[in-house]
Symmetry: D2
Subunit: 324 residues, 4 copies
């Protein structure tokens, strides 16, 4: 036999590792703080995603640089005790800084948080959640809570050892205008059958993410809770106060309101499903439907998505907030 | 004897039809009522179930006695216009009476309703859903709503042509006490490892159905909305105000409170999952966890179910509110 | 001292405890059995519900008769080791017998099981789940599984110390006939607008529960796995082989087939949502839709429910398999 | 004359529109093709997202360039008739090309498809879905189907008028190895408590997206169905055949297998939740648990995500397949 084929000294790899991250997702931590007889409650779901020098674990199965996802979960619980939970964002900042600064192999940490809101159950005789009545003043029932069940607040903090990215958001905030919405003057193609309307219900489930300009530890961070509350207020206010020619226009009104009114925010991404409410045809039953009776459909639905930016800002929020 | 076997004149059937019902489920009807510039909104999911002389349709495929489920859906929409939606129960009564009295083949109608709550979006500058502030006073924004997202109100009306059964309820009302809950002194068997505790979080998701004593058209019906609001209040109040030795005891406190305080109600069924919050062991990290940091588990969960009755009442609410 | 008012010796109670049960729900147990290199897998979700002498725990908070739900969970895990999991039903029988016979306060146990099916991942080069090819012969890959994801098998075993009730079932088995289904000749009322059809898609999601005649320990129990497999087969076969005049008729064909063919079964309850597939009107686009293009709707849906019985049998399966 | 301050001819805007898209999501189209007595079934959920010259609709409410989402839905149905559904990808290509080439305002179309698999219900007496038996040979029951319920196939086609991007994928393919998985030698920090293990269950729910090298109409496109089937096979085969030191390593084995074996594919993104199966401690009950009895936990879970690339390829698949 002639020469055996030479072993390749450095064979070109047939596949290479690209972007990767790992961590523990959806650790549900509940923190009780006792202020005398008045208890306070924070309820978070925390997801940790770490990346860095992780080639060996993927390529050779060596785990030497891998902090276990179990340890990242433990850290969430321990930090709830050590640092408390001032806000979702502040808590995530503690975690992200810890992972990046304490483990040489970890170069970047992204912490996502969902926060669930609880309201106090009022004192006896006081009704809860009834518009126009006082809600949940701390009294004797200072340790009893009812989950609000409204939208979920979200936060995402990313840190690479030098620069911060802070994105706050909300999801599943369902809103509806019974009037002041029309839709007409649109393009017609051979597949267009929709009649124009000058008065329709406009309803959507607001999914929003907004990015703060803050990136540097040496600069003061936003007041996270106040920024959230006021941004949510602006979104509701712009939705309610806009005479709508399309959901696109309403979306832009909501996004630009936030950019204009909240100086700490440089970018906002909105994903708004058009929750169709179709006027029911009651004519077969001898009835007139004067914009009174609607059928609320599930699927399909229009889906309107856009980013609104402070001038001069490059978009950084992923454009797919709602995956199939 | 030679004769061929006689053809059976009436062969014994090998299978027989038992209880049956049919109808259209989950018709989502939204009703807008315009009171000048102030709009009102009702948002229901209505499920119709009819039964009666339906043997032929099952056995022979003859549809002569079948009112289509599509027609029952149409009736829901038409009745929203014809009768309005004063309350979930009143609307269901209109429907049930109609089906039983207008179709000879239909002997019994059961109407189930889920109702979703919307709150008004406040006038500009007014915050929504913030404890301590005025909510949703009808102003210029009298056509804009945000979905409350709290518990869902349910109603079930059954009518057989002479007698009514009215069951109201709520589901997914999530409540939590941070203290005043213990669990000890329980039976121990060889599989018991749970340590006793004198201070734990008690959390549950209240699923309740209560039956009214009203059964006769000639008697005045309950004030449906007031009965709902006050019963919900009593459930919250009893949950918050009970020092708990077990979730069973808390359940009974909730149920008996309603029976004692609400004369229109004769039976209540509660299904309460014990949403476990486990104290996290922080000792490995050199930290003391003084009832501060909890892990909220998903599954498995305790499930506590019981009926509470006005003395002399036979239970009539199905005992499985929560199916696997 | 003036005497305090006399305590009532036996005041009539204002509320009484009715039917009640408790236990741990949805304990997910996975059992691996190693037969040399060939591994076998059982994957169950087990829910325990116990009842008996439980008045004191509800009324006074005394837990002396309460076996903890945590202990019932531990028993599930321990029994998986001690008894193995021959079938969902057999495993539930072990559990039910244990609780009723070992704890004097427990008079009745109801065990519910969901079972998830796993198939073997085939040897290299062999395709998995491809019709017409051999699937999952135990080879070198005898420890690798893929979850089937089809319907879920259910079992419910109830024991009161003397009599057994065994109900097996399945849920979420989605089936569809593209033809051999019509719907006409139905009753018309003023709200009927549905056009009659002589060729439609018939699709449903089969939810079935069937009760076995077996009640006595001294009689041989059914062959649980064989009974399940063959009953499922009959349901599919009857669905596919019935020319349908209505979903009611198809339901009865499915139920009576099981009663007629499976001697161990005395009752079956079927809950069949009519998963509507509407023919799309393509005429506006100059196209003819000859039963080719359908829109699959989510809600509302028809819901057809009935029990089929062996003659002489009283119905015992709850009639609400699908709750709102 | 004193000059009034000059009106800004072009005042700097305070907010600007960024990336945006819109369309109808989740149109569920079912296509029946009749080949004599043998019927074929395609069941898709189609989501259309269009972008282009849409500034005016957002900024001024002019809808002149907006093709309605309703028309995009109609197009889905009409194209199912006009072009048939050869595969999810081919169908999406027809749609994307249509929108971009027929509407001047639309510069880019992204079509997402989910495909649900149906298997034939076998002839009478033939069992369905039983390993080792022949499945669903077209016979008399050639119009009856049962939904497979396994993983969902996904496809995403993007077209900008000149270049195509084709990403196929699958989600919710749940796999499990009962052995040949260890996890040890990892980094330890003060929050690490996890014991090392040399034999554990490894289970995950495979979410994968892979991108084809094909971008040009003039080049032959992949054989979409064959590419899907074989890629799925490689993923299963690599999962089952890899002795695992970590889920990261298993992920890379799966991804690199596809890149190496499927020449049409240049990039694959995998998102693998670590579905933890914890060995239950049976020692308190005097039992030894020799890797037999496991508790399958829901949350939290490890989440391992990575891209594997053909050398020289830039990653283009979004890195967040699984959103919070």
């Amino acid at each position: 036999m002639i020469e055996s084929p030479q072993a390749p000294e450095a064979a070109a790899p047939s596949a290479v590792l690209g972007p990767n991250q790992y961590g523990k997702a959806e650790t549900r931590v509940v923190k009780v703080t006792r202020d005398g007889h008045v208890h306070h409650l924070k309820d978070l779901s925390v997801s940790v995603a770490l990346s860095g020098a992780m080639d060996a674990v993927h390529l050779s199965g060596s785990n030497a640089t891998v902090l276990t996802t179990d340890a990242t979960k433990n850290t969430v619980f321990a930090f709830a005790k050590e640092h408390g939970i001032a806000s979702a964002e502040q808590f995530a900042i503690h975690l992200a800084r810890h992972f990046v600064t304490s483990q040489p192999s970890i170069h970047r940490a992204r912490i996502r948080v969902e926060e669930y809101t609880w309201e106090r159950i009022g004192a006896p005789g006081q009704r809860v959640g009834v518009p126009g009545e006082r809600i949940g003043a701390p009294g004797e029932r200072s340790h009893s809570f009812v989950r609000a069940g409204r939208e979920t607040r979200t936060a995402q903090i990313t840190y690479d050892g030098s620069t911060w990215q802070a994105i706050t958001g909300l999801k599943d905030l369902v809103v509806l205008n019974t009037t002041d919405s029309e839709f007409r003057g649109y393009a017609k193609d051979p597949y267009t059958t929709l009649p124009e309307t000058s008065d329709r219900i406009l309803a959507t489930q607001v999914n929003a993410r907004w990015r703060y300009g803050w990136t540097d530890d040496r600069e003061p961070a936003p007041d996270w809770d106040d920024a959230y509350t006021r941004t949510r207020e602006h979104l509701l206010d712009a939705f309610a106060g806009t005479y709508s020619h399309s959901l696109q226009q309403t979306l832009y009104a909501m996004g630009s309101r936030v950019i204009e009114q909240r100086p700490e925010t440089v970018e906002i991404r909105l994903s708004l499903p058009n929750k169709h409410h179709f006027l029911v045809d009651l004519a077969p039953f001898g009835l007139k439907n004067d914009n009174e009776v609607y059928y609320a459909a599930d699927r399909p639905y229009g889906l309107i998505e856009a980013t609104v930016l402070r001038p001069g800002t490059e978009p950084a929020i992923p454009t797919d907030l709602t995956l199939l």
